[in-house]
Symmetry: C2
Subunit: 159 residues, 2 copies
DNA sequence: TATTGTTATACTCTATAACTATA
DNA sequence: TATAGTTATAGAGTATAACAATA
């Protein structure tokens, strides 16, 4: 993918992309990545990654949820979540708390510091996402969202 | 992300996704990933990954291109390409050929076997991508593509 | 000096399988 | 037996920095 990089590699960009060019999935990916990387860069200043941001949001909105549930909500294996939470706990953004009623469970809570970081991160992410909408009219935006929803429904994507 | 999985984790899906839910970038990602993973699974049967597929397409369409150029076309660092080509060369799908005119360059060519694999892979990828379009009318599809292009233009994404 | 490709290294993201402690 | 979380391990994908050969 190339972003604002006409400068140096004019030749390289002209390599024939064959079938790749026409794939709708690829257009979605390229568009998404362009914004994702901007956001990623800016979140680095807060010391978190986009993945960690997503996790913080979920935990913030679902206080005390257990790991398995969070993993499912994020579409991840439970084992994948362990090191993610480890790091956020080490950085004091999240904490694990044992549950008296079921001692297998370790409920996840956001910390005061986590809330602070989140408060700063949300506008960064929102502003990044707004870039996607910036060049569309009100009507076009609504139509794009409608069509995207229709595509996802057709795929059976619940998310 | 959840795909066709209402069965088991109804509760998990209902976790509050907060700001995440409304992000257009996230909708792009989720939609793209749903199709990507289907394609990925099917390509596994041919012994290649989606990334390798992309590389094969580029090499097939640009015979004898040198690595640096291909790396740029794929948006990758040149060092990233080395192990990718290593593997495809080991599997006899690509080959490096020295260039008489500039002995620093190793031009990349697709092999007969690579062409064969590609011939089988293209319909898999195309069929996967068609899923995205399946539930849109002719007019809706055109409009979606137009709007996506507009979004990308607004971002300065050349690709 | 600059470029091509390589190596060494490291980090993220992700999964599977086997384990433990509890239920 | 089944579930929650953990560990051990592995593999893709990616990058940066330093390097040798060549231009």
């Amino acid at each position: 993918m190339r972003v604002n990089d006409e400068t140096e590699s004019a030749v390289a960009q002209r390599l024939d992309q064959g079938i790749l060019h026409g794939l709708l999935g690829r257009q979605l990916r390229v568009t998404y990545l362009a914004v994702f990387r901007t956001i990623e860069e800016q979140l680095t200043g807060l010391g978190i990654t986009p993945q960690q941001f997503g996790l913080l949001v979920i935990v913030d909105r679902n206080p005390g949820a257990r790991q398995t549930l969070i993993a499912k909500a994020r579409g991840l294996d439970k084992s994948t979540l362990v090191p993610m939470i480890d790091r956020l706990e080490r950085d004091n953004l999240l904490e694990r708390r044992p549950l008296a009623t079921d001692r297998r469970i370790r409920a996840i809570w956001i910390t005061e510091r986590g809330r602070e970081v989140l408060r700063k991160a949300v506008p960064i992410v929102q502003k990044g996402d707004d870039l996607l909408r910036a060049h569309l009219s009100e009507g076009e935006l609504a139509e794009l969202i409608r069509l995207m929803e229709k595509v996802r429904e057709g795929l059976g994507v619940t998310d």
